[in-house]
């Protein structure tokens, strides 16, 4: 941990010629505590952060940045960051030697630090992939993390050949179509709801779902607009739904399915739904096909204790390959993951909200029955 002002100055000059709405801002953050997404872990102090395009830092708010709500113990600081740079003074502190992680304690701590930063960035921003940069003396490395692995660039001298980092940051703020703003790796199908949209959602909750004014206001405060398909036909276009309240559950891991679940509402429909966003391994069956099989095989009776899958989208299959909705880090390709969204109905109760022990036990019984139907009978 040391003064990184010279690096910050260099980096800000590197992007100074980029047009204003897309320009990144680099800031020295080595004295700023960033709470990690997992409450059992220590806070982090990344050396340098680059804020999302348009965020000038130092108190400027980012109401329109592509960030999602999270539980109260989560840090909001990572949400303002497009990426993180960890700086070490010497070249020998590079944790990767001869193509693999060096077996020293320092190297391990450095890699863990970089991986934790990547996890916090990818989770708080709901990105498809993120970049973390390591600076070791005059050498630098770019790490690209997605939900299955990381690709690392060989180290290069960023002082002598500063155009490498310049080109990297320039491309970073010009994501491929259809995204028109944000950064490469961000999910352009998720965005914070506008003020007008929040009012519409609040009105819907008050009049359609018996929400109180206080409860409804809290529920829409961090509402986000997420594109999803109502129906399972790939030709049906994606439509926006809006999250209600904090996520019901979310995985805190860097690699894996990274499942996150919300309650959502459509402005045109009269029900609440559950939206499940996850990264499925490409060799596994799509989840909605299991729900379809139940109906086709006649296991779907009126009192079957199982939610209906009323919508699904396989983003990795349907969206542009450049969007990052399908991971690329693993070989063989079948081990890569594709981003899926599943729309379920009806919304259940949380275990804490059951009125009696009997209903709690019935709920658990139904969950077991539903699980057997989905994964054992088929």
């Amino acid at each position: 941990m040391f003064d990184t002002s010279c690096q910050v100055e260099l980096l800000n000059k590197l992007v100074a010629h980029v047009e204003e709405p897309r320009r990144l801002t680099f800031a020295d953050s080595h004295l700023t505590s960033f709470a990690t997404v997992h409450k059992t872990e220590h806070e982090q102090k990344p050396d340098i952060v680059f804020l999302h395009p348009g965020d000038r830092g130092a108190g400027s708010s980012t109401p329109d940045s592509t960030m999602l709500p999270s539980e109260s113990h989560h840090s909001e600081r990572y949400r303002r960051c497009a990426g993180v740079i960890e700086v070490k003074a010497h070249e020998w502190q590079d944790p990767i030697q001869d193509g693999k992680i060096h077996a020293t304690k320092t190297a391990k701590e450095t890699i863990a630090q970089i991986a934790k930063n990547a996890r916090s960035l990818i989770m708080e921003n709901m990105s498809c992939f993120v970049f973390v940069i390591g600076i070791y003396g005059h050498q630098a490395r770019i790490y690209r993390f997605d939900r299955v692995g990381a690709i690392v660039l060989p180290s290069f001298n960023y002082v002598e050949d500063y155009t490498i980092l310049g080109r990297f940051f320039y491309r970073l703020v010009h994501p491929p179509a259809p995204a028109t703003s944000g950064i490469v790796g961000a999910d352009h199908t998720i965005a914070p709801a506008t003020k007008e949209e929040k009012i519409s959602v609040l009105f819907k909750l008050l009049h359609g779902f018996s929400y109180g004014i206080q409860e409804g206001t809290m529920a829409v405060m961090n509402s986000h607009r997420i594109q999803v398909r109502y129906g399972n036909d790939a030709s049906t276009p994606l439509i926006p739904c809006f999250t209600v309240g904090d996520c019901l559950s979310g995985s805190a891991g860097l690699f894996g399915r990274a499942t996150i679940v919300w309650i959502v509402v459509f402005l045109e429909r009269e029900e609440l739904y559950v939206l499940k966003d996850s990264w499925r391994e490409c060799h596994r069956r799509a989840e909605y096909t299991q729900y379809e099989s139940l109906t086709l095989r006649g296991h779907r009776e009126p009192n079957t204790p199982l939610a209906d899958c009323v919508g699904s989208v396989d983003m990795g299959k349907e969206m542009s390959a450049d969007g990052g909705y399908r991971t690329l880090s693993m070989t063989p390709d079948t081990l890569n993951r594709t981003r899926n969204r599943l729309l379920l109905y009806p919304v259940g109760h949380t275990l804490e909200s059951f009125s009696s022990t009997r209903s709690l036990v019935e709920g658990i019984r139904d969950a077991v029955k539903g699980g057997r139907l989905l994964y054992c009978i088929i």
Partner: protein, 112 residues
């Protein structure tokens, strides 16, 4: 005679002349996440866990740097045009000096 389930069992008293064993009975070994004295929460263990997760999933790109940026940072941007006036003399990162000269004063606070 079967013990009455509603009558609390008598607490065995130490026999006269024999010291009563007051050491608590050992608990059975459990499979649950018992963490009070375990290594799980030690920082070193945390780091090792992270490294173990990342190690088998981290791949060092072997091609040229420009190719990496072209293929792994997809972009709608045209070719990058570096800023004209950005020489290293324009910034505070010195060039062509020994690394210790550059970072020495900064590192001093950490190592000594």
């Amino acid at each position: 005679m079967n013990p009455d389930p509603f009558v609390p069992p008598k607490i065995p008293q130490p026999l006269p002349g024999i010291p009563h064993d007051l050491t608590p009975r050992k608990h059975k070994e459990q499979n649950g996440p018992y963490v009070a004295n375990s290594d799980v929460l030690r920082p070193e263990a945390n780091v090792d866990r992270w490294v173990a997760r990342v190690e088998c999933r981290l791949f060092v790109y072997t091609g040229p740097v420009s190719e990496f940026i072209s293929s792994w940072v997809p972009s709608s941007a045209a070719d990058y045009d570096p800023p004209a006036n950005l020489g290293c003399s324009a910034v505070s990162v010195p060039k062509g000096r020994a690394e210790d000269d550059m970072y020495g004063p900064l590192v001093h606070g950490i190592l000594w």
